[in-house]
Subunit: 154 residues, 2 copies
């Protein structure tokens, strides 16, 4: 088991630009229950099944690599409606690698950045393009975005 | 992906006796949604994560072996309440191996037998201890037994 400690921010797209090619992610959910999220994801040619326990900034997480064809079948036939597509860019900021997700489809217009920490009180550099923190805002959870996408917000 | 074709029967315990040691199974569910069941199981020293699509007798199934410690954590902390414990015996009947599950705990008193076939129209020998077929009776699905166990039935 891993334990994820993540902080998530809205991105000011007038200040941030990709500094390299991204990886296309497709992800869907077999469970969006907050106590036991089950996510299926393809990331480029790889695929993963991920179980997440309760919590937002810090949560138990188990991830297993699975065959790409299995994940594609699950995304197309078994997952709840609302598969998310986004391009993920990774770039260093100070001592950390940030992941910037540019959403497509029903979540077009949304850009989120995440930094993963090893401890609850670990310091990190805050880039100028990282706006408001939304780590605890349930609307921005990917499981929530799959069910109520960004473009449907009022 | 596999595709399971299974027939499930109630067992007459006055006629059936184990012919060898069984394996203790513990299993719980991250999703009991009939369209996308997610099962966590330990079987003796091994552990598995299994995704099942819709259907009863024939259904899509994906199974991945995972570390025993991961599965134990999920059973103890992440799964829906209602972990099933049962002892599984395997024994040959004609050309097939039958699996006989003797349930414990909240499902004590229930004994079910399953035979897995390769094709929808494959013939199989019906042992005298296999009573009524319950393949399509939703009460006997393990996901249902975890939520509404046998001992709670009227």
């Amino acid at each position: 088991m891993g334990r994820e400690i993540e902080h998530k921010f809205l991105v000011d797209t007038s200040l941030w630009r990709p500094d390299g090619p991204g990886v296309v992610l497709r992800q869907g959910y077999l469970s969006t229950d907050k106590e036991r999220v089950v996510r299926v994801r393809t990331a480029g040619p790889k695929a993963y099944l991920t179980i997440k326990g309760p919590g937002h900034i810090s949560r138990a997480e188990f991830e297993y690599e699975i065959p790409f064809a299995d994940a594609s079948f699950m995304l197309d036939h078994l997952c709840l409606p609302g598969v998310i597509e986004k391009t993920r860019y990774r770039q260093p900021v100070g001592a950390h690698i940030w992941e910037i997700d540019v959403f497509h489809g029903e979540n077009d217009g949304l850009v989120l950045a995440e930094v993963e920490l090893r401890g609850d009180d670990e310091a990190f550099e805050h880039p100028d393009w990282a706006l408001r923190e939304v780590s605890n805002d349930a609307r921005y959870f990917n499981a929530a975005l799959s069910q109520k996408p960004f473009k449907s917000w009022a």
